[in-house]
């Protein structure tokens, strides 16, 4: 599960570099985010521009991440693709997360 994370003035931007958050990688996803969440920055903005598929396992993992971060460190979703938006809408979880059209800053490519 590859993530690119950067602390910015707009918060901690975490770009998911995988195309799927699903049953096969839900646990890895949670663990990977737990690690990068040690970096400072709030809110935590999950850049989902590369994620074309999220199933209920993936959604559960995103919710778990939100709970792990706690109420003082909100989790926001950015660049949600149509298939992912569909899942959020059907489950009514689109009212739980703040959803941004784009991340406020794009994570710099790792040098």
């Amino acid at each position: 599960m590859e993530l690119a994370a950067e602390t910015t003035s707009a918060g901690l931007i975490v770009q998911v570099m995988e195309s799927r958050i699903d049953a096969a990688c839900a646990i890895e996803f949670k663990e990977a985010v737990r690690e990068v969440a040690e970096l400072p920055g709030t809110p935590v903005i999950l850049d989902l521009s590369r994620v074309g598929f999220l199933d209920s396992s993936g959604l559960g993992a995103v919710v778990a991440v939100m709970k792990m971060l706690g109420p003082q460190r909100p989790l926001q979703l950015a660049a949600v693709q149509p298939n992912v938006a569909k899942v959020l809408r059907l489950t009514q979880m689109d009212s739980v997360f703040k959803i941004l059209p784009e991340p406020p800053v794009r994570v710099q490519a790792a040098s």
């Binding site: 699903d22 049953a23 598929f53 199933d55 559960g60 919710v63 149509p82 059907l90 979880m93």
Partner: protein
């Protein structure tokens, strides 16, 4: 549409997946185009599900299915396959047969597995779990709700030693 006293959807499934079980097919307006059949048999498991979805949806895409419809069918199949992997087979694994029949405005799906039956004897009709942040944020229980939102028909049966889940998904005309 033929005024059949039989369940018309059951008729469609039978015709799609077991044509030899039928009498001479009766012509039905709007339903006489050839169907495209796509199937795959594989062993249960998360990475196996990914591979199966890639294969099945890739073949559906080649039939000109719209992006939104491809997303819908992938999601429906993913949720059903995850359920089979996690609940029907649990700690073990076993065979899964998926058959899809794309015919005009509908995709008929039939999934078979040889694992445990549904505990209640039927597919769950679940409401969404209560969502009430920050205290009540569910991490699970969404799968069947998602499936039921997206299918126009769903039937589960326990047959001899296996489960059969049939679903119909409405799609836009293919280009």
């Amino acid at each position: 549409m033929n005024a059949d006293q039989d369940d018309p959807l059951e008729h469609c499934f039978d015709r799609a997946f077991r044509p030899e079980a039928n009498d001479t097919p009766k012509p039905q307006a709007g339903a006489n185009r050839g169907a495209c059949s796509i199937s795959r048999s594989f062993r249960s498991g998360n990475s196996e599900t990914r591979a199966a979805l890639g294969d099945l949806c890739g073949r559906l895409a080649a039939q000109g299915l719209a992006e939104d419809d491809l997303g819908t069918i992938e999601l429906v199949l993913a949720e059903a396959l995850n359920n089979i992997t996690e609940h029907a087979y649990g700690q073990g694994s076993g065979p899964i047969d998926v058959a899809l029949s794309l015919k005009g405005p509908v995709i008929l799906c039939e999934l078979r597995d040889y694992g445990r039956p549904m505990p209640t004897g039927d597919a769950p009709v679940t409401e969404l779990p209560l969502i009430s942040p920050p205290d009540t944020l569910p991490e699970g229980g969404f799968g069947w709700h998602i499936i039921r939102c997206l299918v126009s028909d769903l039937r589960y049966e326990r047959l001899e030693g296996h489960n059969r889940l049939r679903m119909a998904v409405e799609v836009s005309p293919q280009g």
